[in-house]
Symmetry: C2
Subunit: 81 residues, 2 copies
Amino acid sequence: MASAKVYVTLKEGIADPQGLTIMRALKSLGYEEVEDLRVGKYIELKISGYDARRIAERVREMSERLLANPIIEDYRVEVEE
Amino acid sequence: MASAKVYVTLKEGIADPQGLTIMRALKSLGYEEVEDLRVGKYIELKISGYDARRIAERVREMSERLLANPIIEDYRVEVEE
């Protein structure tokens, strides 16, 4: 069985209020060194029955259709056999 | 400025209803090959003023205190200078 990882992040220029709130909370705890913070999703899939190239293709398709919102989010796919 | 990435995932054995829902939705779209799916968080930070070793230490501390819930979540920290 292969494993695939999908990293979904907001596109540059899209506001991230959740990230801003976390950054402010960190600063209030004394972590003044945090200059920026963005929150994304990290999705791990176990996949059977295809080779790595085809898995990457199909997981990119899943990302376009369901895992990410391509209007406001970027995604990156990694496959490990 | 350095960048740090934190990957937060549910510990093994902790139920992931969100992941299950997404997996079922993928299967209903025809992606029958998905055997398991878990959703985590992916946090990107920009950090100034420390070297990589100290950044890794402080970001692990941030993870313990705020970014992850160590009772039910694991986290992994990567630092790039």
